[in-house]
């Protein structure tokens, strides 16, 4: 009786949690309701976690001696893991968000892998089908775990250069095939009555080790600017692994939540790859940026530097300005100053809008978050397809810390490695100012023809310092704010 009602409560709570997850994600699809969406999903998570302690009422006789210990372990793990991650999440700077998400995602993948481990070591799966699913979830979860850790190290600047060596793809393929081979060996050892030269446990350990190595090897050669796609893929992977382990545990909440995230992550990955005009396999396996430097067409014109104060004053007298912020702005921590500058322009009656490229930043939509953090209202922020036609009708485009996403070579130069990538048409503005650290190239290693255009002037310097000078210049005019 007791156990039956416990089972009923768990089932009902899992059902409610699944609904709240879907409802919460759905509310997250608009900036107006998004904040409540995560709250709704959070309630679902909290009740599901609390209800799962009822599993303790329903354990087998063999588990009973361990139960008190297990409950204590569970509470310690929850408090410790949850508490640390919560504090870290509250403290992390918005610019460091991509690596933080990579870590949390890796934890989820690791958890799915650990569950698979318990299933395998404890012989807890039901038949060959579930064994295969367990192994599949184990591979995906482990790859997501170790891959996310490498992605974190790259985004955090701990791993500077992509690691590439000869025959890398061949080596990776070998690791992948041997992981699968050990998976098959486990299936054989467990189900078949074949001779067992080694214990099943040893096979399982090697299998996990290989899967973890695979995640590291796959992520090492990928460059920093492709990390948005990588995090997104691993997010989908973790979701998939969770869904698969949910099937083995016969828990529909895990199956649904995992598969929803798996599909959502896949869609997001595809959208991003499209924004870079590259396929996912190209991102994962092509060692982008290695050869591009050799492939540059001739560029006419010269770089025309100008003073920050002149550029600032020119914008104050403009009618319409579009600002294209890029990752360089975030590196210089210039968002606050940028918004201060924008408010000065607006006080003078200038129409100012922000144009954001879909892959600006180290994570899709990161520039939007950074601007929001600085206080920029979201109705001033426009996405590429909504604003691109307007560049032709604005007086000034201010490109600040962005490079490849405004390179017109993507439209015209077939030999360019970024040819075909949708770009922001900043070059169509009457006047373009580019704020840049120095004369260096963008991530793709290509010269930007825009910088040499007749209507383009360069403002060299750290984005934040340049913005301070622009603000001072406008204040120095002593103009009254427009009514």
């Amino acid at each position: 009786m007791f156990t039956a009602s416990a089972e009923f409560i768990i089932g009902a709570v899992d059902l409610i949690a699944s609904f709240l997850f879907l409802f919460g994600l759905q509310r997250m699809s608009s900036p107006v309701t998004a904040s409540s969406g995560i709250g709704v999903a959070g309630i679902g998570m909290a009740v599901a976690v609390l209800a799962s302690f009822l599993y303790a009422l329903n354990v087998d006789q063999v588990v009973k001696p361990y139960l008190a210990q297990n409950i204590a372990l569970a509470i310690v793990a929850l408090a410790f893991g949850g508490g640390l991650a919560w504090l870290a999440g509250k403290r992390v700077a918005m610019t460091a968000m991509p690596q933080m998400v990579a870590i949390y995602n890796g934890l989820g993948g690791g958890a799915a892998g650990a569950i698979a481990g318990i299933e395998l070591f404890g012989d807890k799966y039901d038949g060959a089908g579930q064994l295969c699913v367990t192994l599949l979830g184990a591979i995906i979860g482990s790859v997501s775990f170790s891959g996310s850790i490498v992605a974190w190290a790259k985004l955090d600047g701990r791993l500077k250069k992509p690691t590439r060596f000869k025959h890398q793809r061949l080596v990776n393929a070998l690791v992948f095939v041997s992981t699968l081979a050990f998976g098959v060996a486990i299936i054989n050892a467990v189900l078949g009555d074949a001779l067992r030269p080694v214990s099943v446990s040893a096979l399982i350990y090697v299998f996990f080790a290989l899967a973890l190595i695979l995640g590291i090897m796959l992520t090492l050669p990928i460059g920093g600017a492709d990390m948005p796609v990588v995090i997104s893929i691993y997010n989908a992977f973790t979701g998939l692994a969770v869904g698969l382990e949910g099937f083995v545990l016969q828990n529909p909440a895990l199956m649904i939540a995992g598969m929803v995230v798996g599909a959502a992550g896949m869609l997001l990955t595809l959208l991003m790859a499209k924004a870079m005009n590259r396929s996912i396999t190209n991102v994962l396996f092509s060692n982008f940026g290695e050869v591009s430097a050799a492939l540059q067409g001739q560029i006419k014109g010269e770089l025309k530097p100008t003073a920050a104060s002149d550029a600032g004053i020119a914008m104050r007298y403009a009618e319409k300005v579009i600002i294209v912020p890029g990752y360089g702005l975030a590196v210089a921590q210039g968002q606050q100053k940028l918004f201060e500058f924008v408010k000065l322009l607006q006080a003078g009656g200038v129409n100012v809008r922000f144009a954001i490229h879909p892959v600006a930043g180290r994570m899709p939509g990161q520039m939007d978050v950074l601007l929001a953090e600085a206080g920029v209202p979201y109705d001033m922020i426009f996405q590429l397809e909504d604003i691109n036609d307007d560049f032709a009708s604005v007086d000034i485009a201010l490109v600040i810390g962005a490079n490849d996403v405004v390179n017109p070579a993507a439209r015209s130069d077939k030999s360019s490695p970024i040819f075909g990538m949708p770009i922001l048409n900043a070059d169509k503005a009457r006047q373009v100012y580019v704020v840049k650290r120095g004369e260096g190239k963008g991530y793709a290693g290509i010269v930007n023809a825009l910088f040499y255009d007749d209507n383009c002037n360069m403002v060299y310097g750290d984005a934040q310092a340049v913005l301070v000078k622009m603000i001072e210049a406008i204040r120095g005019l002593g103009l009254p704010a427009a009514a």
């Binding site: 995560i38 959070g42 297990n70 929850l78 949850g82 949390y104 869609l267």
Partner: protein
């Protein structure tokens, strides 16, 4: 007991299919401006793995299983709590203009010739 559900064979595949479709459709409607919070939000949702970890840990019968169950709950809880914290923080930052003029209509300039 009559209340437990067996999700085997096609039933499981149906659940996966419908859930995958739901995820695809819901996310397809999210504007690019929200992609980061969305990613961390969906990252939070797969933190439900902590429930699977709890189940596995509570049913552990060997030291090995206890260690792995502990790791699963530790990691899963980190995934869920951290994912929630950062997503909620980010979403709070998205505010409309104060004296909200409705989102300015995109100026109806004749679109420039494509080259």
């Amino acid at each position: 007991m009559g209340i437990s559900i067996d999700m085997t064979g096609f039933v499981a595949v149906y659940i996966f299919m419908l859930a995958g479709f739901a995820g695809w459709v819901i996310i397809g409607h999210v504007p690019a401006i929200l992609h980061t919070p969305l990613m961390s939000g969906s990252n939070f949702v797969h933190g439900i793995v902590v429930v699977g970890g709890l189940y596995a840990l509570l049913n552990a019968t060997t030291f090995e299983q206890q260690v792995m169950g502990f790791v699963a709950v530790l990691f899963g809880a980190g995934n869920a709590a951290g994912g929630y914290a950062v997503t909620a923080r980010m979403l709070k930052m998205f505010q409309p203009s104060l004296h909200a003029p409705p989102k300015p209509a995109i100026s109806v300039v004749a679109s420039p010739k494509k080259n």
